[in-house]
């Protein structure tokens, strides 16, 4: 994206920037700067990522042997419940939008901040209050319903702090809604002069689609969890058949949000990949409009496929068929994106820097995750693999292989902008490789386990499944190491890293046209946009 403002030369020591403009705890906790709020989120979600990871590690250690010998079954059930709750609601959903989206959307559209800076800060506080409720539940004995809170287990049978956990998620939902609202208004009203919709970076398009889901879907989960809480306390008979309720109704309501929520997690990562692939191929994206509209198509179709979680819940055969058909349709926009990213690389100038390594990993793993999703959309096969390790493997390929790979790729890509420092390239490439190997070793054997029939959420399992479980646990330890290394060198680089130039990747993105780290107002002179995004070749070489 060509902009009028291009700094002439790098100052050796950056002047005032958003990091050094003010110091002290108050300057952070009361900030209205979207960049500082992004860092507040970064610190919080990093904590939850490692907490959720710790639960995962304990789960994998338990599954090292067939007998339930490390922890008791009650504890095991709490571990996988808290792993799911923490990773989904307190890490994955806020991860890319609240950190990278918050930091970058105003910069990518040439704005000083989001449309509602105070609301943005409020979102973070709401998130923290919600997290506090859920953490209270964890500390006071946990909850053992599974992150899915299926009724009547959650309303009538489960032990533990179901209500506190649900209240935490309910509250955190408002943080999501407000963030989505803020993004939508910002993207509509605060674009720089000349920045038309089809000149927007694809990162912005994917966050726009994500925001739509956040605003439209989150209220449904909020109401659903409220119903669970109310039923548990007052025995209203909404879901419990003993009181005249319908237990399957809960599943409809829950998945009406929670399936689109999968797209809240993956769409922003797709946005990151579009930015990384173009920058490190020095090419404009292949099929810009197809990639942009694919995001919107995913957001819209994503609301129509919830019934594919219920193929064996006794719903009508014909309802199953409709949901199966719609689920295949939602796969197509994802396939379009993968093909376009691959085509973008054709005859590019491809750099093997760390963000691009994560993009390679993302494309491969997301492809496997997406294709195995087709197995689950296929009715006759889903009956067998439903609720087995096959589905555990599938969604971890999307959530970990896709969303977290995208998040890490994005963190490396924008780290120079965020911190003003370069991360150590050698270590970063090494960690990316470790993550890729560890990930596949952890989750690939689970596809095999699932088709063999090992059900998910099993504390103990028949001995013939042990070898594959040992492989998975070994992989999880490697993956854990792969996640710790970047935390160390990111922290190290804050103090010892080389100063980052404004645009170390020679990207055309507007966020790279200001200093690293940027000043509080982002651009000393408001930029004017005069062309499409991702124009690397000279004008004469680009057609269309």
């Amino acid at each position: 994206m060509a902009a009028e403002f291009i700094p002439e030369a790098e100052p050796l020591h950056p002047r005032d920037n958003y990091l050094n403009v003010r110091y002290g705890v108050g300057s952070w906790l009361l900030t209205r700067d979207h960049k500082r709020i992004a860092l507040l989120y970064l610190a919080s979600i990093t904590f939850f990522f490692f907490l959720g990871g710790l639960f995962a590690l304990l789960i994998r250690l338990e599954l090292l042997t067939p007998g339930g010998d490390l922890v008791q079954s009650e504890t095991y059930n709490k571990l996988f419940t808290m792993h799911g709750v923490v990773m989904i609601f307190f890490f994955l959903i806020p991860s890319i939008p609240a950190v990278l989206g918050n930091f970058l959307i105003p910069m990518m559209i040439g704005a000083k901040d989001l449309a509602f800076p105070r609301l943005n800060l409020l979102s973070w506080y709401i998130y923290i209050v919600g997290a506090a409720f859920t953490m209270w539940a964890v500390v006071h004995g946990g909850v053992d319903t599974g992150w899915t809170f299926y009724t009547p287990l959650s309303t009538a049978a489960a032990n533990g702090h179901v209500v506190a956990t649900a209240v935490g998620i309910f509250i955190t939902g408002f943080s999501s809604i407000l963030t989505g609202l803020n993004f939508i208004v910002t993207i509509h009203t605060m674009r720089a002069p000349g920045l038309t919709w089809f000149r927007l970076p694809l990162f912005v398009w994917s966050h726009y689609a994500t925001s739509l889901i956040m605003v439209l879907g989150t209220p449904v989960i909020a109401v659903t969890l409220l119903m669970v809480g109310v039923e548990r306390i007052f025995h209203l008979g909404l879901f419990d058949p003993a009181l005249g309720g319908d237990p399957v109704l809960f599943q409809h309501l829950f998945w009406f949000y929670s399936h689109p929520a999968v797209y809240i997690m993956i769409l922003p990562a797709m946005g990151v990949i579009s930015e990384v692939v173009t920058t490190f191929s020095r090419k404009n994206i292949f099929g810009y409009r197809f990639v942009a509209f694919a995001s919107v198509a995913i957001a819209v179709l994503g609301f129509l496929v919830w019934g594919h979680h219920m193929f064996v819940s006794g719903q009508s055969v014909y309802a199953g068929m409709i949901f199966s058909l719609l689920s295949f349709l939602v796969a197509i926009p994802s396939a379009i994106k993968v093909f376009n990213w691959t085509a973008t690389m054709y005859r590019g100038s491809i750099s093997w820097r760390t963000p691009m390594l994560y993009a390679f990993g993302f494309i491969g793993l997301f492809t496997i995750g997406g294709l195995t999703g087709l197995f689950l959309a296929t009715l006759g096969v889903d009956v067998h693999v439903h609720d087995t390790y096959f589905i555990v493997a599938h969604f971890h390929y999307i959530m970990v292989g896709g969303a977290i790979m995208g998040y890490l790729g994005g963190m490396h890509y924008w780290w120079p902008k965020i911190s003003g420092k370069m991360y150590p390239e050698g270590w970063a490439r090494f960690a990316a490789l470790i993550v890729f190997i560890g990930f596949n070793l952890t989750f690939f054997p689970q596809f095999v386990l699932g088709y063999l029939g090992m059900p998910r959420r099993y504390h103990a399992y028949p001995p013939e499944f042990q070898v594959l479980n040992v492989m998975s646990t070994a992989g999880a330890s490697v993956l854990g190491v792969g996640y710790v290394i970047p935390m160390i060198y990111f922290a190290w680089s804050m103090r010892y890293g080389k100063n980052a130039p404004a645009n170390p990747w020679r990207s055309t993105g507007l966020e790279w046209q200001t200093t690293s780290p940027p000043p509080t107002e982002n651009f000393p002179v408001p930029p004017v946009v005069t062309s499409e995004p991702y124009v690397y070749a000279t004008e004469s070489e680009v057609v269309g």
């Binding site: 079954s73 009650e74 053992d144 299926y150 009547p152 287990l153 009538a156 049978a157 058949p241 003993a242 237990p247 191929s281 020095r282 090419k283 099929g287 197809f290 064996v312 819940s313 006794g314 199953g320 199966s324 349709l329 197509i332 396939a335 379009i336 993968v338 093909f339 691959t342 085509a343 690389m345 750099s351 093997w352 491969g364 492809t367 294709l371 087709l374 197995f375 296929t378 006759g380 096969v381 009956v383 067998h384 609720d387 087995t388 095999v448 088709y451 063999l452 029939g453 059900p455 998910r456 099993y458 399992y461 001995p463 013939e464 070898v467 690397y536 070749a537 000279t538 070489e541 680009v542």
Partner: protein
């Protein structure tokens, strides 16, 4: 000891090879596209690697033809998955009429199973090779799911309603039964074994039972015990609908709708009699919610079913006495495609 490393589940039902064939088709298509993308990414990454810091490649022009190709081709391929998968699903959900009935009640954390002739089992299921078996299932507490991997068969077991699934075992042997819907503390202990037996061995097992009475006969006793027969009778004194010949027939309701008198309807009519009032009758029947266990209701359903000598409902009416043992004499069903 050499570690045991199975990579593929045993195929022990008529459905299993069909599910596996579709699975291998999906696997082949997925492997093709995964490899295609992986090879292209790696090839481009090497072939077009950056050779100098200053190089700038020519821009992409896009291609409508390519975009259409990689939209339409995947769409067509996924439609083949859809059609094939839907066909199998349809067959899985349509039990043959001559299937033997087995009733299952799930509870935290065990499976209680009962054969038509009355044999009860807990966490074990004996079935003969070659006979279609239809499972009618419900739960006493939370949602469970009855899963036999070797049969590629699974269905949720839901409190407050009946769900159904069927299979035809093809290979003698012992196979896992798992509960696959998370159901609380001892979820992973809610497991069992299905013993698939040769028909003769199965007969021997059946007759070796402890002389338990058939479901329908037990239901008949309950019917008297709860005095159902004072209203549901076959004469002018009847204050409730006559139940003889009712099962499987359409019922005209007061609100003008018509429902089929199936297991689900009978269960509901016992527990919530006024939910679907039959045309021409007063809502005078009391609810039996909490008075009859899920197993008792299943026995009543079996009894009412036995009052209708329809093809396939194996037990003929045998008032007061033991129903004859149900043997499947009909020819084996065609294997589903």
């Amino acid at each position: 000891m050499r570690p045991d490393l199975p990579l593929f589940p045993s195929q022990a039902s008529a459905m299993a090879p069909h599910v596996d064939a579709l699975y291998f088709y999906l696997l082949a298509v997925s492997a093709f596209f995964s490899l295609l993308i992986a090879i292209l990414v790696i090839f481009f990454a090497i072939k077009f690697r950056r050779r100098s810091e200053d190089e700038v490649p020519v821009g992409n022009e896009g291609s409508l033809k390519l975009e259409l190709a990689w939209t339409v081709i995947p769409l067509l391929i996924t439609m083949t998955f859809f059609v094939w998968g839907a066909k199998l699903y349809f067959r899985m959900n349509r039990p043959p009429n001559d299937a033997t009935q087995i009733f299952i009640v799930g509870k935290q954390w065990m499976w209680k199973l009962q054969h038509q002739d009355g044999q009860r089992e807990i966490n074990e299921l004996h079935v003969p090779v070659g006979t279609p078996v239809r499972l009618t299932m419900t739960s006493e507490d939370v949602i469970h799911s009855f899963f036999i991997p070797a049969f590629r068969m699974k269905m949720d077991v839901i409190p407050g309603r009946y769900t159904q699934q069927w299979f035809r075992a093809t290979t003698p042997g012992d196979f896992h039964i798992f509960c696959s819907q998370y159901c609380g503390t001892k979820h992973s202990a809610m497991i069992g074994t299905v013993h698939v037996m040769e028909p003769t061995a199965f007969q021997a097992w059946l007759s070796g039972g402890s002389g338990s009475e058939s479901l329908a006969s037990a239901g008949s006793k309950l019917f008297q015990q709860h005095a159902c027969n004072t209203c549901h009778r076959n004469d002018s004194q009847a204050r409730g609908p006559n139940l003889e010949g009712l099962f499987g027939k359409p019922v005209q309701l007061q609100n003008g709708q018509t429902v089929t008198a199936d297991e689900q309807y009978i269960r509901e009519s016992i527990l919530m009699p006024s939910a679907k009032m039959v045309a021409g009758y007063q809502p005078i029947m009391p609810t039996f919610q909490g008075l009859i266990s899920e197993e008792g209701i299943l026995q009543l359903v079996a009894y009412i079913r036995s009052l209708s000598p329809s093809p396939g409902s194996a037990a003929a009416p045998s008032p007061g006495g033991m129903a004859p043992p149900v043997k499947n004499s009909s020819p084996e069903r065609e294997a589903p495609k």
